[in-house]
């Protein structure tokens, strides 16, 4: 997928912004707080149906405005034109359109233009708690498999309802309706078993990719492994039915405790994904520098996984990562991603890309300068793709 045009309104400090993208690397420059990241968020709103920064939709709306909207026009690897439109109005909710037709839910859109996002906060994937790693793999698998995202959304909903049944029982000090709790058990376990089997398969395919990319990024210095640690069982199982049986068994074992605590104590929301570096748990064994390279390794592996599963080249969004990397790694990341896909990256100034010094932007590179929520100047090299306007200037 290559984005040709991005148009959005009322996202953060932008009023109305249009950007014509270059096929290769789009370097978005500007001082802090001017609205560089918002451009990446606007892309994410279209292709992932929400911002990659874990904020509520409402907080994306420009102050004083009542809605935001964002549209992406692009071309798939097979040359098909694709269009993504997302509009959010707190009174109406989110309206998502794919190629002009309304999409029933996010799952119908996510994955059509797979998107890999890299921002410094994501070091939490290797450094943070199990929830961070679940969030990471959920986002990757959701882009690759529509059914997964549907199961996941339903799972979360049923979990909330089941927790409400347990919490109400606790508060009112009376035993919960057994038929009712078993109903939620059925709903929950059915989804959990599928989610867990998908996670098992994902880690099986992802582990060798990660081992390879982590080696590449660290110049062969680090050995990285990733293992799935599902709830209820010691080792990953090989079928949905196996997971289902294990979940049922556990649900019966923990029920008394669940009533005492008023919360669900088994299921896919309790899975962990263990990551190891040179044989030790990354959370204790990895240095700050290793967490950085590990994150790049994870994201490059995600790119390869999605490219294969979706049969579509993902778009890469690099948010403010170049300040975090030494000059050598920065150049490695730049060259690596540039050769893979269309890239959108934010950086305060070209000073942070010293390897570009003294060379002109290539045919498929563009510089977009952002000031106070508007694009001041967009420089696209003259011999760029014919579909992109030269020197497009958008003033506000």
């Amino acid at each position: 997928m290559r984005i040709r045009r991005l148009t959005f309104q009322n996202i953060r400090n932008h009023t109305a912004t249009q950007l014509l993208a270059a096929d290769g690397v789009n370097i978005i420059t500007g001082m802090n707080g001017q609205g560089k990241t918002s451009i990446l968020e606007a892309i994410s709103v279209c292709t992932l149906t929400r911002s990659f920064v874990g904020t509520q939709d409402a907080s994306l709306i420009r102050r004083g405005e009542k809605f935001f909207e964002s549209s992406v026009e692009g071309v798939s690897d097979y040359g098909v034109t694709r269009r993504f439109d997302v509009r959010y109005d707190p009174n109406i909710g989110k309206t998502i359109r794919l190629d002009g037709s309304p999409a029933g839910n996010a799952a119908q859109v996510i994955g059509a233009a797979p998107t890999v996002v890299l921002s410094p906060d994501m070091k939490a994937i290797s450094g943070g708690g199990p929830g961070e790693r679940r969030r990471f793999i959920d986002m990757v698998i959701s882009q690759a498999k529509r059914r997964y995202l549907e199961d996941l959304m339903q799972y979360r909903r049923i979990l909330k309802q089941r927790n409400a049944v347990l919490a109400t029982g606790l508060k009112q000090r009376r035993p919960v309706d057994r038929n009712l709790i078993e109903t939620y058990d059925e709903g929950l376990i059915e989804r959990a078993a599928h989610l867990m089997m998908e996670r098992t398969q994902f880690i099986e395919e992802f582990a060798p990719l990660l081992a390879q990319t982590a080696r590449d990024v660290a110049d062969g210095a680090d050995h990285v492994a990733i293992r799935y640690q599902p709830d209820c069982v010691r080792e990953p199982r090989t079928s949905v039915a196996d997971y289902r049986d294990a979940l049922w068994l556990r649900s019966k074992q923990v029920f008394a405790e669940e009533q005492r605590r008023g919360a669900t104590l088994f299921g896919a929301h309790r899975d962990d994904i263990r990551m190891e570096i040179n044989g030790g748990d990354v959370r204790v064994a990895a240095s700050q520098g290793q967490h950085k390279t590990l994150l790049i390794g994870l994201k490059v592996a995600e790119f390869h996984y999605l490219a294969r599963q979706c049969a579509e080249t993902p778009i890469i969004l690099l948010d403010d990562i170049f300040g975090e990397l030494d000059a050598y790694r920065a150049e490695r990341v730049y060259d690596l991603t540039r050769n893979l896909a269309q890239v959108f990256l934010t950086v305060v100034s070209f000073d942070m890309l010293p390897f570009l010094r003294g060379r002109n932007l290539g045919e498929s590179e563009a510089n977009i300068e952002v000031v106070k929520g508007g694009i001041v100047e967009q420089k696209i090299p003259t011999s760029g793709s014919g579909q992109i306007d030269n020197e497009a200037k958008v003033y506000l």
Binding site: T168, N179, E182
Partner: protein, 198 residues
């Protein structure tokens, strides 16, 4: 922004408490009503009060009615051995519009939704169980195809099956996440036709 008339303000307040009506729309409706002839406004006010005074819940199917039992429950043309269970009275209208269903109904008055504080005891479930006799009955569960509808369907099936009644649920022709009342008749017809054992 407060209007200079307290009575106008009061109407706007009432209107904006209605579902899907925001304050702006409420203002537009109130000012429109103000321009209408007095008789028109009186007729509307009377209609509202009449509706409140004259309607009740049918003691059999729990649908909204002016006569008890309701016209559907009384009709000799209806197949008394089939009961279609729906969430809201508006769902009865949606299924009736298909002209394909000739059994009776049971309106639960919602679906199980513990997050919103709605448990089985808050719905007309006991009344449904009381309608199951010894004959050759079928209960069709036609709740909205979202998580709450599905969980309510599972729960009802758990209670109904031991009573020896045939329990089916409508097929998944209805798009996931949509409300029955907004689905077109043809889709509901197909979903009723293709119902499966619950």
């Amino acid at each position: 922004m407060l209007h200079t008339s307290q009575s106008l303000e009061s109407v706007i307040e009432h209107l904006s408490s209605l579902p899907t009506i925001g304050r702006k729309t409420a203002q537009r409706i109130a000012l429109y009503l103000l321009k209408q002839p007095r008789e028109e406004v009186v007729a509307m006010a009377r209609a509202l009060v009449d509706m409140k005074d004259k309607t009740a819940y049918c003691t059999i199917c729990q649908n909204i009615t002016e006569q008890d039992p309701c016209a559907i429950c009384q009709s000799p043309k209806r197949d008394r051995n089939v009961i279609c269970v729906v969430g809201e009275p508006s769902d009865v209208l949606a299924v009736e519009k298909t002209n394909d269903y000739h059994g009776l109904y049971h309106v639960l008055g919602g679906v199980i939704h513990p997050l919103d504080g709605v448990g089985p005891d808050d719905l007309k479930i006991k009344e449904l169980l009381a309608r199951i006799g010894s004959g050759d009955q079928e209960v069709i569960l036609a709740l909205n195809p979202n998580v709450e509808g599905e969980m309510t369907t599972l729960y009802l099936a758990k209670l109904l099956k031991p009573l020896g009644v045939k329990v089916t649920r409508i097929a998944r022709g209805v798009p996931l996440g949509s409300a029955l009342e907004f689905v077109d008749e043809a889709t509901i017809s197909r979903a009723l036709e293709g119902r499966v054992e619950a």
